[in-house]
Symmetry: D2
Subunit: 372 residues, 4 copies
């Protein structure tokens, strides 16, 4: 669990471009609610089905729990070694019908069916068919992933508990057991407020980060991964490295939200920019990585339910660059926030993943004159 | 259930182009095994969770139950109002790692997680993560779809029961409760043997057909749907029509298999041709339809497991047209086979979907001089 | 050239589904103008650069010559053995900025640069850069394609001569030297008027058809190609068959226009339906074929030039099936119109391509009780 | 023109990851030949058709001038405000048939048709149709782009002059009049040698860089653009800024070559990684930018011409991360090389674009302790 008052990346003096909105979180976009279920139990040797358990569920409700309204959306797969269900319909229709859920790789199914059940019971969806969006990253290094510990009630809890306001980061929700760039990682978020000349819109990003090897890590342009090399022993002990002969495991799911009035084909452009924010932290999007991104806009309320012809707002392409830049910036910061918020965790078979040391991180940035 | 000895489309004298292989089934492609679980129970009013149940699971194992080897694959969405999990990784890697499973829309999740469990327990997959392919069509008109009646054991049974040889058609497996062009429909299959000049390869197709309104149906070019109009009463009673203001509900999943040595980018071309076979039966691929197709090749055994550089065979693009034509032909026939094999079914709340009358069908073809 | 008063497909009694608008042409969509330059000169042996010449240029101006306004657009490649420039920007921006031009394969470049020159001189485009849409099919069997006979003035003439009203068909414009299904072919058009319940919109289609082998041809579901087999001698003489070991050469460009208020992602759906109309005429979209389709909407005038946020209309996805069906129907008829309108032509080295006999075509349809 | 002996980026002490091959150029990949035509003439006020001229053509021949053999290829559009012809066929077939040519936006057509003529005359292509790859960026700020100064002979010269060995950088070839990040820019190249554990393959990159605003520029992680702000006067004088309300104009074409045995679907993955290298230099891929990338492999010689079934080599996906990382690194360095090699240029109407000062660049890196 994230400790209250734990510093975020910019509290450490790490410089980022652009201006965050009030919470520096995806919930700065009005209407968005986020809920999480965090499952941590057991210690010691792996007993499949018994634990240890280090996993969870994150739910993002674009218009909150009480609205049945859909949002325009688009998606992009930078490296498709992962799952995001529901994307075929988003590509076709341009609409995201319900929540976005993120969990571990082997719990996508239970989360999907449970979210249908929740939607049907809350009268949010057609009785006849529903195509939920559920994404994942793999926590098998720390979690008993083949024990299938996520149950329908955990999904309902994440959905029912969704709230606006501050978003927990680090070892929480779907990000509980995740690691990135060789450090403990997980859930991170950030936001940007676009200049009033370009509409003053908000862009919010939430990541579930579980990608990359340590040598690649760059923070604010500084080669932090090379400054803080992984102990040789740590490398050997890391079974998840077997995913990829090059030693880079993992995945990252990136969710971009905005209130800018963007159409579906424009939101695909936004989703693609998440790749550029990810690149700023050093990733080369390795073969073993499911780097899948989704973007949605909370503008154009009601567009999905107009029976004949809806009147919708479309931001001019000539201004969209402001959203591009905000997306790149907020993605970069959300990843660093996940890294900074996470705390050292020990999981199955005593596997241990260290959090990045805030002091060591600051020292690396200071060496390159990049500490604010 | 399909009655033994029930005639198939060409037994009725319906003419099709091209030459089928021995079984006129997807299992004509050597190595392919198909298994199905059919769930039919209860009658009368819908009680969510109790039934009536009219659903199932179909499993296609490209190299059979005993092989852990992968196959090259490609996919295409003609109209994405549906789900096929695992496609993002197929697009990226070019490999299909395990079985293809087809079920009802609201059971995709349980089938997905259960197939991971089955794969892990059979040592077929990495312990760390798995991205199964599960597709669906919606049987909510006849089946208690929100009762979630498909359980893990039904998935295991379909997988463990997979066999080569004859493939059941009609109201079986995932196709149990499906309807197409206003008639009872479901599972269908067909195959083609390509001319020896172009390699003598086999193309096999299996469909789970649940699409289209009656007026659109064409069989062998004959406007059968216009010859056999739906009774006005039937139209009104059909709740699933509410899916689409134009009255066209449903979806079709098409699986194309071949032993022709095709690379992933070539298999995407094959998947796209399924659309042309579908069009021959009259579909315009309506908004409410999840028309999603996958193609794989059983050639190039072992290509996925070579650690450095694999030597693989690639059919010349100059010959691939033979596979295109076989795909179009076998898809057309598989759909008509599904229609011909299905039998009238009554499901939830007494909803009844009539099978097409073989006599009426023959009469329509005779009127247009198209009966063999 | 098309003879005045020459019958069109439905004049011959060929049955088609749906209701055409006034002209049964793409120009039924208000505002659309079409212009063509037809180049026919010389006879006898091929002398590269001298002739014989059998080619041309077709220009489609979505809002006519006098408007500088853009239209929403989307595209789809069913089989990409062809060129349509400008599509990368359409995919990105959702806008088609200028005319659509169609010519022979080796003249795409000159047509592209000339259309920029024309646009700059008419103040229709930015001075700084322009990305025109130019598509092609290959007329090398009848035309001195490597003589590069299309010149900038021919492009200007097609653009300056664009008009609303009746559209010439057959051996005209870019379609001058084209052949399809083994017969002389070229330019064809058709339209549909959608039922008032779904908005009463118009869908217009224009094709430049140069695809398919004779055995595949189906008209109104009747296997006309098998009824009118190609003389053995004709097959041998046809050098263009070398394009494809399976004997299927050629390409088809399909342009779909509508006044239905569709957004870019919806127009991609429309472009994809052109494939289903093509399939109804028998094509399997062979390897040698550039089957590339573009769809645009003349609704939402001015959307491209609003500097901040445009208000645009979007047809509900629940009604879009009406546009799908109209597109399939009009595409099918436009292809048959091209075939019916074309006249026998002799070109380079005495190559001769016969027009389909109207009498033989009617006889084939009568045999299958499909003549109205 | 590039001055002989002018330092390249790493000569200035700029640190890059990875190990370049011998020339640190795309021509390190065996067999590749590069040719350029540079057109510089005239000064003073723009007279359309007369000049001043600041443009050119770059030709990349994957297997050199004397081979007619094709290569496997894949492409990716990060932001499609640009043109790359021929990509629809590459996507379909997986093969790049001829050279890649890069020029200015308004000369794509002449270069395309001239390259067909060259290919036909050299017996390199079918007589019947050819689909060349021609890409562009816009030099309208310095060059009389609407004067259409590139002529067929300039294309032939670039093709005939193609050679292996050292590649000129900066104001040469298609890159002659280009600018990036507010500085004079143009052509750049770099390469990487992959570790022998992963096959020891070469990855070479060539860019034509014309993108980005100055504030975004990052070199080796250092915010150089913020350290070297653009003079206010310069911003006002820059007409090309009108392309984009956000002030970011331009485009970048990136060509990635390798001798690693990659299949077409794998080469699409490589093309996508160019985006990550671009992101390291600070780009957010603005709306006005045509950021289009192509990757090809010189392995698998002869695969395109086997009539039935070719035997081809495929690098395992588990090793492909080495190529990903090399692509990201070489792309980053090629862009910085273009920037470092370019020299201040004055063009139409006295428009002047300053080269980056090597001293100022080194000073900025030194400030952040990033100078080697």
């Amino acid at each position: 669990m994230q400790t209250q008052g734990r510093p975020r990346a910019r509290d450490l003096g790490i410089p980022f471009d652009g201006t965050p909105a009030a919470l520096n979180a995806i919930t700065d976009v009005p209407g968005i609610e986020v809920g999480m279920t965090t499952l941590i139990s057991g210690d010691g040797p792996l007993k499949v089905g018994a634990g240890p358990v280090r996993t969870g569920v994150t739910a993002i409700l674009p218009r909150g729990r009480t609205s049945k309204d859909q949002v325009f959306a688009g998606w992009f797969s930078l490296n498709g070694n992962g799952e995001m269900t529901g994307t075929t319909w988003i590509e076709e229709a341009g609409f995201l019908e319900g929540p976005i859920l993120i969990t571990n790789t082997h719990s996508v199914g239970v989360v999907r069916d449970a979210s249908i059940k929740w939607s049907v019971e809350h009268g949010r969806t057609s009785q006849a068919w529903s195509l939920p969006v559920v994404a994942e990253t793999s926590d098998g290094f720390l979690n008993d992933i083949n024990g299938f510990h996520v149950k329908p009630e955990h999904v309902f809890a994440a959905l029912d508990g969704a709230r606006s306001g501050r978003v927990a980061e680090g070892n929480v929700g779907g990000g509980t057991g995740m690691r990135c760039y060789g450090f403990k990682c997980g859930t991170g978020t950030a936001s940007r407020k676009i200049d009033a000349r370009f509409g003053g819109y908000i862009v919010g990003v939430l990541v579930q980060a579980n990608h990359g090897t340590r040598d690649l890590l760059r923070v604010a342009g500084v080669p932090v991964g090379q400054e803080l090399p992984e102990p040789a022993a740590g490398r050997a002990a890391d079974a998840s490295r077997a995913r990829d002969a090059l030693g880079e495991a993992g995945s990252i799911i990136i969710v971009v939200a905005t209130d800018a009035p963007l159409l579906p084909h424009q939101l695909k452009r936004i989703a693609r920019r998440a790749a550029l924010g990810l690149a700023r932290t050093g990733s080369v999007s390795s073969n073993g990585s499911g780097d899948i991104f989704i973007a949605f806009s909370t503008a154009n309320a009601g567009a999905a339910s107009v029976p004949a012809t809806a009147q919708v707002s479309m931001m001019s392409n000539t201004r969209i660059g402001a959203v591009f830049e905000a997306t790149v910036q907020a993605t970069e910061e959300a990843i660093v926030n996940a890294l900074v918020a996470a705390e050292t965790m020990t999981g199955v078979d005593g596997h241990r993943t260290e959090a990045i040391s805030h002091d060591a991180l600051r020292q690396a940035l200071r060496k390159y004159n990049r500490l604010k």
